[in-house]
């Protein structure tokens, strides 16, 4: 099972380490050719404006959208969640636009308001240490999306079929359970394809 990590900018190595811990073979993606043969892709935390600009510059938007439409599992954390979202508050131009949600950028405030908290994630863990850094919030979800985690009634993890998004950074802890959950999604998609 081959999982790619979009390596244009951000916390790339942290995701690599976690995915390897969860049993995946991991590849870095900086060019569209490197998307070939991947069974899943992670879009890491970083600066969403920077990552999205570089994705456009290197013609990565279109092929990743195509992967998403083909049913290849995608997982976005923080900036990656913003990149996946169909709607971003304050702008008419989403990036990949695959995940049927609305996100609000820097929803908790500036860096001094960044925080960590223990959260329950449906089907994943009861006590997940979630690190929020200038994090986005999911303000609206489409009908096809499952809300997996909330903090004070505000949505921070969603799953929509083969797409997974979290507004915090599971890659910044030692806890690989959310990555394992994604790896299981990738395995399920593989089974579906070969069936």
């Amino acid at each position: 099972m081959k999982i790619g990590v979009l390596a244009l900018q951000g916390a790339v190595q942290e995701h690599v380490r976690m995915l390897e811990k969860a049993g995946a073979e991991v590849f870095l993606v900086k060019r569209k050719e490197q998307l070939e043969g991947l069974d899943g892709l992670v879009i890491p935390g970083g600066e969403s404006t920077t990552i999205a600009k570089l994705m456009h510059l290197y013609d990565l938007m279109e092929p990743i959208q195509e992967m998403g439409r083909r049913g290849v599992p995608l997982f976005g954390t923080c900036a990656g969640l913003i990149v996946l979202a169909a709607r971003i508050e304050g702008t008419d131009t989403p990036h990949l636009g695959l995940l049927d949600i609305t996100v609000q950028r820097n929803a908790f405030g500036r860096q001094r308001e960044s925080f960590e908290a223990k959260l329950a994630i449906k089907g994943v863990a009861e006590d997940f240490e979630a690190v929020f850094i200038r994090a986005p919030l999911i303000t609206e979800v489409g009908n096809a999306s499952d809300v997996l985690c909330e903090i004070d009634g505000r949505i921070v993890v969603v799953k929509q079929g083969h797409l997974l998004g979290a507004s915090f950074h599971p890659e910044l802890t030692e806890d690989a359970r959310l990555h394992s959950y994604f790896v299981e999604m990738v395995k399920a998609a593989q089974r579906k394809r070969s069936a």
Binding site: E14, T49, T50, F115
Partner: protein, 299 residues
């Protein structure tokens, strides 16, 4: 750090994590909203709001202090990417002011005139994270011990000359390799020798890397300079005077961002470097009087 209802702010993980999110990116010095927008548009991961870029500070002489809060606020309003600002070494009131304004990261910087020639700021006491300059492993670990959540090479700011940044990055990387290869009973003597906290040195011995992100700074003037620093092991790049003192700031900014991402793609960097016009003029280090060397500030 503080904790309310199971929600903790200002933890090491949150402060260091912020720097992790900047990896592979370029942080640019800006002096107004217009420059901040150019930087954001070019793909900068953050901007450093200043009253003057380092080369102008050098030219102006006198005492360089924290920027006028009006400028910092103007920049914070102009962009959605993180905004950093500089406080003088040891000037914890300037740092508290910047924290109160909501600045995302504070650079306790040798580019400004030090306010304390003996003590650096106790950065552990702050909710906002700090970045500090270092020339070698001992200096980096002293700053991390005080609570810095990110390290950068000092280089020689405002010179457009990469030689000092290269020297500092090579020094740190070489020392990390040495510490990793030492036997455990050699570590305390090494801690004493380089003036580093033992526990941090032990951590490096075990992990083979700094516990925080390490960027290059102090002399990056071209896309090739940025790529060189990435190859030497930098996690990302600060560009001070290099962008807005060049002939074509937009083009320069975009080119440096791309060269930092694709630092091993020489064909691309060649393309990016075409027709950029003149980079900032630059200063030969040996022509600087010892008193004009900013890297000697702090310890």
């Amino acid at each position: 750090m503080s904790q309310v209802n199971g929600i903790a702010t200002g933890t090491n993980r949150v402060k260091r994590g912020m720097a992790e999110m900047q990896k592979g990116g370029v942080i640019m010095d800006v002096v107004n909203a217009e420059q901040a927008k150019i930087a954001e548009e070019a793909g900068a991961v953050a901007v450093m709001a200043l009253e003057r870029v380092p080369s102008d500070i050098r030219a102006a002489g006198g005492v360089a202090r924290m920027a006028d809060p009006t400028i910092v606020e103007e920049v914070m309003k102009a962009v959605s990417i993180p905004v950093m600002a500089k406080a003088r070494i040891g000037h914890y009131v300037e740092a508290r002011i910047l924290e109160a304004m909501g600045v995302d990261y504070i650079d306790e910087s040798e580019v400004l005139t030090p306010a304390d020639d003996f003590y650096h700021i106790d950065k552990n006491a702050f909710t906002v994270p700090f970045v500090c300059g270092a020339r070698d492993l001992g200096e980096a670990l002293r700053r991390i011990g005080e609570g810095a959540s990110m390290i950068r090479t000092k280089g020689e700011p405002g010179t457009g000359n990469i030689v000092e940044a290269v020297k500092h990055m090579r020094m740190m990387m070489s020392q990390i390799r040495q510490v990793q290869g030492m036997s455990r009973d050699e570590l305390m003597a090494e801690a004493k020798k380089i003036g580093a906290p033992y526990e941090l040195l032990l951590q490096i011995h075990e992990t083979g890397k700094l516990p925080v992100v390490n960027f290059a700074a102090g002399g990056v003037a071209t896309p090739a300079d940025a790529a060189l620093m990435m190859q030497l092991g930098s996690d990302g790049v600060f560009v001070g005077s290099g962008i807005f003192k060049s002939d074509h700031p937009e083009k320069f900014a975009r080119a440096i961002v791309q060269a930092t991402t694709h630092y091993e793609d020489y064909t691309l960097i060649a393309e990016l470097s075409k027709g950029l016009g003149a980079p900032m003029k630059g200063i030969e280090i040996s022509s600087l009087e010892p008193s004009a060397r900013m890297q000697e500030r702090g310890w």
